[in-house]
Symmetry: none
């Protein structure tokens, strides 16, 4: 078990005092990186660093506020030959009232890279399971994510272009791009960007898109599985683009693409580093969920993305209903 | 018990990779503030926040390095009627080798202040001691620190600056100097300070000068051309000094000088890196421009600088008038 | 065209919510550095980084507020053989109302430096102008700034401090003062500064004093008891001053005083908030303790403080010896 904790500060939150989903994702990833790096170095052998390969879908169950303490605890739950699964739980604690709430549960996959040669993937020391079933269940999750990863390979060419004088509620109207020059504090000692830094920026751009669309206080409701296609090295400029793909009555789905551009290296082209779908909800001043204005889709591409988003939305809704149905009545 | 943990980043350390003592002290205090605030709110009663009153002598037993995880654990060891003693242990963990070392042990005293009235000290809920001697030993430490505290009352008058007690509205009164130790995040990958970082500090010192002069909310109105005479390298200490040169009815001009001091290089002398004039205006709470108190110039040098500032001011005013005149009437 | 965008955070602004001019200048420069570095590396040849050489006069046309998105767009408008002119426009967007305003227009000059040898200026790839006049107008701006640059060469000697050119190893030589404008992230929710923030600044100034004295890598060895005499409130300017009091063969003691100045409150005087003695040691590149140059004391006050420091040093040494003697042999 590994754990992190810190007080939430004004810069971690939006104006309404809600901590950004991205701040929480960054802490989750830090806890995951620590525990998996520790595990991968637990046997004599080549020193290595655990690099984030994938984050499973993450729900934001409860808001966290400025002044609360965030407790992040991580546990290794499965290891394959070359990867480690970490499950992370985030709790908020109000130190004045003593109230504690679970705000997130997340599952992350890490891959150990050799410190001597960061392009070489090392072997993971086996995990000691307390129950036989744990290994079997873990293997199923491993196979499922492997399959899904292959399906969602990203096309490098899909770039978001700006458009001139867009109408409110169209995709172009809220579409946003954030450019970030990677600095030393964004990086591991080995010169590539922490997965958590990338996730924080992804949430930030999605938040701008959502706020532009609804013009209200918005908060992250969930982040779809994120696949990290490639490492981002020190000195890159990262372009994070977000566009709205789908709106339901009470939620918006935003697609976020991360591209890395090694500006000072002639040899290398800009490449797609990560991508995800983030779901936001709109809140009133009292913290109640508000209706979301419907997204106006204009092009064939936008219609296609809207339908795909609707598919993901309905699938998730069905999954939740099934979970609710599975809970015994007396609870 | 309460605990905090986080990875040490480049910004937490000096160029040699040793984590700053100040970074560790900050984490120690955060852990102490959390546990004592939690304890002081553990009984029904007025909500309060624990404010740091004293830190006992702290030794740095072992260095901490970038990439290591700092584990900070805190425990309440004594409570008097109005104060809480917290003992904190800091461990460094090298997650690659698994090595752990105690780097610090510290003892802090907190006092609970009412949230309704931060000048009111509240009572501390009593601590349940596991051994009788603990209370007795704690009381001794409490009495010892109380005594020492009284002995070392600081004289407010002892000021390091050659204080000639300058009159309000003189140049000396608002003159300010800011020292900044260049950190990794201030620098490009190639080891010199981003021009933007220097400019931010220049504006910061100018803002302090302006605020000291007017004691109101002040905002930057313009920055004169800035020339960067020389690069500032990693590891330098930068001194940014600001002094007021000129005031008009509604604006103030502040001269800012930037000097770089390569402290860790014997060979090189301190040198001027940049300089500029910054103009500030004073705002009321409603955001309206306020009159600026006139600058009192005392020396010949100050008079000369005032006249030069007036020259720049009148020139700029004329230039703007010309621009306004150039706009056709119908617009 | 290159662009940056980010949300303005509480730490970017003053208490009234106006974004600091310095925050905007920093973003302007970041956008300029990215676009000019990209341009200078656009042709095969030596890799380089664009270093800021000059910023033209910049006006702040309209205030920017917390919660708004700052959009910074940069364009290369002229290139000479060895320099690049970048024009930058900053817009604020209120994402709730959709209102956009131009807040700044700036022009910056960059020079490409070789990555292999940062003292070598490289050639800039020529720019393709869309209109013939662009080049001509650019050349005029280039000549004008060149002329102005030469005129405003700064005298290194013009120092704001009453500089009596202190001798190395004296108290005055290493004495340092740091000013810090309290920001939201420095404060508790209840509006006063975290004790840990103050301690971090105290260590920072002590570190600068120690580095100036020895010109080596220095690390904190211990911090004496710190008493917090009074709370520091939001909006204060804190002055942290450090001076060396004593040197032994292998350590230096630095006295640090913290004063708080409630600049925006007419009613309140500057007051002493905390004070401490910090001990530093000097390290070689291999991490071995180095001898410390002896402090040269000049005034009676300095001699008195040196003797007092010696007293504390000998007392602590005796205390440690007693602790060592108390350890049974077998351990």
């Amino acid at each position: 078990m590994g754990s992190l904790a810190r007080i939430m500060r004004p810069d971690d939150a939006n104006i309404a005092g809600n901590v950004h989903g991205g701040t929480i994702l960054k802490m989750i990833e830090e806890a995951g990186a620590i525990i998996s790096t520790r595990h991968c170095n637990s046997q004599k052998g080549e020193a290595c660093v655990a690099a984030l390969a994938r984050v499973e879908r993450t729900d934001f169950l409860s808001p966290m506020c400025i002044g609360e303490v965030a407790h992040v605890s991580a546990e290794i739950t499965y290891t394959s030959k070359h990867s480690v699964e970490v499950q992370v739980t985030v709790m908020s604690e109000n130190i004045l009232t003593g109230a504690r709430r679970v705000t997130n549960k997340a599952a992350l996959w890490y891959v150990p890279l050799s410190l001597k040669n960061v392009d070489k993937v090392l072997e993971v020391p086996p995990l000691a399971y307390t129950r036989k079933e744990q290994e079997e269940e873990g293997r199923k999750r491993y196979e499922a994510q492997k399959l899904e990863r292959m399906e969602t390979k990203w096309k490098n060419g899909d770039v978001m272009q700006p458009s001139i004088n867009p109408e409110p509620y169209t995709v172009s109207y809220s579409q946003s791009t954030l450019i970030h020059l990677v600095g030393p504090s964004d990086c591991t000692l080995h010169g590539f960007v922490h997965g958590g830094v990338t996730m924080k920026l992804m949430d930030e751009v999605a938040g701008i898109v959502a706020a532009r669309h609804c013009k209200t206080n918005i908060v992250t409701a969930s982040v779809d599985a994120i696949n990290f296609h490639d490492k981002i090295r020190k000195g890159c400029v990262i372009t994070i683009s977000g566009r709205m793909t789908f709106t339901s009555n009470k939620s918006m789905e935003i697609e976020v693409l991360v591209d890395a551009d090694p500006v000072a290296l002639h040899s290398q082209e800009r490449y797609r580093a990560a991508s995800a779908f983030v779901t936001y909800v709109s809140l009133s001043k009292e913290g109640k969920t508000l209706p979301v204005p419907q997204l106006l889709v204009e092009t064939e591409e936008e219609k296609k993305r809207f339908e795909e988003g609707k598919g993901r939305y309905l699938q998730m809704k069905a999954k939740r209903q099934a979970q609710i149905d599975a809970i015994p009545q007396q609870q």
